[in-house]
């Protein structure tokens, strides 16, 4: 009997056709995501019915607010999706290497401050240069902002999750001071910055409020897709999140430096979300500019399983939820904050499906 056990060929060693493999990957990656989204929405509908709301009405309002018209899609859903996608890309870049950047919110504000501050000085430049200047400034501000946690991590081994979180509060206080101090509008009455000069305002799709920031989000997603899937660095970064010593010993890379770069760029990308929000939506720096984008972005990135292409889709999904929930509150009286419950359920379910978090996700080379 013992002999039998020894000679039988384990299932793992049997040949598998390319088609079956693709099917398996699809089953492992796509199916749970779709299931989660559908069940969450169904459960939510049931809960709303139980609570005495008209779930049908609420659902219809949600749909109308998110996708019901060209205007809803562009001016509401995609505009809401833009900062979520950019922040989720930043979060995903760090987590690809195993680092948790919970500081998206703070980096968003760092970028928003930098963009507003620089915009005031580039009014005379042609629009492409003025916008470019605000973006470069925002990216740099994000890098600088996250360099504190990076230094603390490298030098003192401080958990980046805690330090980036703490930096969020510092950023919020900084914004609060900026809009009442150095960057306050000329009349010194309102706690906000001066309105951006026309040259620094992002162009919009004619007839909508959809601004250039969405284009930036798509480009960033494309760049990260390339980095993750086609470059050695991107691949080694992911490998390091599993077994850093293999990357150090076998690939001869300095994993600490790789992780630092990933976190720094992650901060820079997250800050771009602040710049596009200021340049494309608010057109001035305010307190509470972000309704928690940095945290919603975590759900966006996890639902997309850190894949840049999928982040666009899941960003649009959450953007639609947030856009639609406003309509839902208006038309069906359902509190818009219920969206956060959906986000929470999505995050938790994904964490549980993946047993040990993101570490066991099914991903094949080049897939």
């Amino acid at each position: 009997m013992a002999k039998k056990v020894l000679t039988r060929i384990p299932k793992e060693e049997r040949e598998e056709s390319a088609f079956r493999r693709r099917l398996r990957v699809a089953r492992h990656t796509l199916l749970p995501v779709v299931l989660i989204v559908v069940t969450t929405l169904l459960v939510l509908g049931a809960a709303l019915s139980l609570a005495g709301y008209d779930a049908g009405l609420a659902g219809a309002a949600l749909w109308r607010g998110a996708f019901g018209s060209w205007d809803a899609i562009t001016s509401a859903t995609l505009v809401r999706a833009t900062p979520l996608i950019i922040l989720a890309l930043g979060f995903a870049l760090a987590l690809r290497g195993g680092a948790l950047n919970i500081g998206g919110e703070g980096q968003f504000y760092a970028g928003a401050i930098a963009a507003a501050a620089v915009a005031a000085h580039v009014a005379s430049l042609p629009a492409p240069m003025a916008i470019g200047a605000t973006w470069v400034a925002a990216f740099a501000a994000g890098v600088i902002w996250v360099s504190v946690p990076v230094l603390l991590k490298l030098r003192f081994g401080v958990l980046e999750a805690i330090s980036t979180l703490l930096m969020n509060f510092v950023a919020e206080a900084l914004v609060s001071w900026m809009v009442q101090g150095p960057l306050q509008e000329p009349t010194h009455i309102y706690p906000q910055s001066a309105t951006l000069p026309a040259s620094a305002v992002l162009p919009v799709l004619p007839g909508t409020r959809l601004h250039l920031g969405f284009g930036l989000a798509l480009v960033l997603a494309g760049v990260l897709w390339f980095v993750f899937n086609k470059t050695r660095w991107g691949f080694q970064l992911r490998a390091a999140s599993y077994e850093p010593r293999v990357v150090e010993i076998i690939s001869r890379r300095n994993v600490g430096a790789m992780l630092a770069i990933a976190l720094l760029v992650s901060g820079g990308i997250s800050a771009l979300a602040g710049a596009t929000e200021v340049g494309g939506v608010s057109r001035a720096l305010y307190q509470n500019l972000s309704p928690g984008y940095g945290f919603t972005a975590i759900a966006v990135a996890l639902l997309a399983r850190l894949r840049p292409g999928a982040i666009i889709l899941s960003g649009v999904f959450f953007g639609a939820l947030e856009a639609g929930s406003a309509a839902m509150q208006r038309d069906a009286g359902v509190p818009a904050v219920i969206v956060y419950v959906v986000e929470a359920v999505v995050i938790i379910t994904l964490l549980l499906i993946e047993a040990r978090g993101w570490r066991r996700r099914e991903a094949l080379a080049g897939a």
Partner: protein, 488 residues
């Protein structure tokens, strides 16, 4: 028959069988410890010693077999059950909590009933107790600040305080200096003399013969020898541990290749150590093309630091080191340093690409390359897309080798390349290394298995306390062994 023989055994493991996947770690093993004796459990790495003791301590559950303690059949679901039955374990790597004090660790090891006293009061008590046991300790010291021998002491004090009447000692002397080891053994002897019993896991024959009443030898999960210590000798035990000589088979005997130009040259080399000051020893060494040089050393004598320095994983402290590139390094621990078990075989192969391989990865080419490696090196796997964790240990090591050798390295550095492999897989690994040497590479390797070193090397170097000593040409096992242990 003495009274002792008549008494119920302190521990009796009967017909134990344990499977790890499709590998039988233990087969029908029976192991008996009489009360008031020290019983040595001998075997090579991977022979099943630790597995057997983990079963006795409730950390693992056997598929078949029974456990009796003092004549009563027991079923251990956890170490807690084993402790309750009076069994204590001293692990190879200390299990105390580094950030806490000695007293806190001792108190933690006490049963809840004994621990009724409050922590403040246990400080003096721990001091007195440890002195009484001949193992004096500072109760207020943080464990992380203690030297390794003190940590070992703490482990024993903890086990005794926990009410252990039978101590399982897992290679306790492996990390100790000779004088510390002797001290420790005398403490264990005293403990046994008080009517307790102990099991000493070791691969040091002399230690077993000098201290134990009885000896059991395990090889590949089977008991190959069992007798009183005074009724056997080192040769007999060595045979039981390693098996009859010459059944491993070899591809090319030592000295058949003509050595070429030196590919590794070290002069005045001082090694960096993981912790503490650099090694004080200065190393000079040279390995030529076509040579296989084996390093024989007892664990912890600097061989790991030397190999990793030459491989370029760790920079040297000082001195000159000239190593011809490309260098392939085969680390000891396949699963944490060689392969990423969650990644596919293709991805693992790509991890081994030379630094100059370009910043982009061509995945379809890499997959073809991997498929080719799997075929040539006879790695049994579902395909390049299989995960590394789905491979058996032997196939994982084949992949590690395939990846390293596919870079056509001039220099190959290997730590325990055949560790944990069955005979056929081990032979295959060494055949590959010999082929590489024949093709003009310089091979430098270490194995904890002395016979493997002697068998597979053209030339043997011995490392002792950070010093590299050449073994005289044609030296036999005993000579090299004495050199390793400093008993020449």
């Amino acid at each position: 028959m003495t009274a002792h023989d008549a008494a119920a055994p302190a521990l009796e493991l009967r017909d134990i069988t344990k499977w790890f996947g499709s590998l039988a770690a233990l087969r029908d093993v029976t192991f008996t410890v009489r009360p008031g004796t020290l019983h040595a459990l001998l075997g090579e790495n991977g022979a099943g010693k630790s597995t057997l003791m983990h079963i006795a301590y409730g950390m693992l559950r056997p598929e078949l077999g029974s456990i009796r303690v003092d004549g009563h059949t027991v079923k251990f679901r956890s170490p807690r059950d084993a402790r309750a039955a009076g069994i204590g374990m001293v692990h190879q790597h200390p299990t105390s909590i580094a950030a806490m004090t000695v007293a806190e660790n001792v108190e933690l090891a006490m049963g809840r009933q004994q621990a009724a006293r409050r922590l403040g009061g246990s400080v003096e008590w721990v001091r007195e107790l440890s002195e009484e046991l001949g193992l004096p300790l500072d109760p207020l010291a943080r464990v992380e600040s203690l030297p390794i021998s003190m940590k070992q002491r703490l482990e024993i004090v903890k086990a005794i305080v926990g009410g252990a009447r039978l101590l399982l000692l897992d290679e306790p002397t492996a990390v100790l200096a000779p004088s510390e080891a002797a001290e420790l053994m005398s403490v264990v002897r005293d403990y046994v003399a008080q009517g307790n019993s102990a099991v000493l896991i070791t691969h040091k024959l002399a230690e077993a013969l000098a201290n134990a009443e009885e000896v059991t030898v395990l090889r590949r999960g089977i008991v190959t020898h069992r007798s009183r210590a005074d009724a056997t000798n080192a040769e007999e035990l060595a045979d039981a541990m390693i098996g009859a000589a010459g059944n491993l088979g070899r591809s090319g005997g030592p000295g058949q290749r003509e050595p070429g130009e030196p590919l590794i040259v070290a002069r005045d080399l001082v090694l960096r150590r993981a912790a503490g000051p650099p090694s004080r020893r200065v190393i000079a060494l040279s390995v030529r093309a076509g040579e296989i040089v084996g390093i024989a050393a007892v664990e912890g004598n600097g061989q790991r630091e030397l190999l990793r320095t030459i491989a370029g994983v760790v920079p040297p402290w000082s001195g000159t080191l000239d190593v011809r590139h490309p260098v392939a390094f085969i680390p000891e621990d396949r699963t944490t340093e060689g392969l990423v078990s969650e990644l596919t075989l293709t991805e693992n192969v790509v991890l081994g690409d030379a630094p100059g391989a370009g910043w982009r990865v061509d995945w379809s080419a890499a997959e073809r390359r991997t498929a080719e490696l799997l075929r040539v090196y006879q790695v049994r796997a579902r395909g390049p897309g299989a995960r590394a964790r789905s491979l058996s240990g032997g196939n994982q090591q084949r992949l590690v080798l395939a990846r390293a050798l596919s870079q056509e390295p001039r220099v190959i550095i290997a730590e325990n390349p055949a560790r944990g492999l069955d005979v056929a897989a081990a032979a295959a690994v060494h055949r590959r290394l010999a082929e590489a040497a024949e093709a003009g590479s310089a091979v430098l390797f270490h194995s904890t298995d002395l016979d493997e070193v002697l068998e597979r090397s053209d030339r043997v170097l011995v490392m002792r306390q950070g010093q590299v000593l050449p073994a005289p040409p044609g030296a036999d096992r005993e000579e090299v062994g004495r050199l390793m242990l400093g008993a020449e």
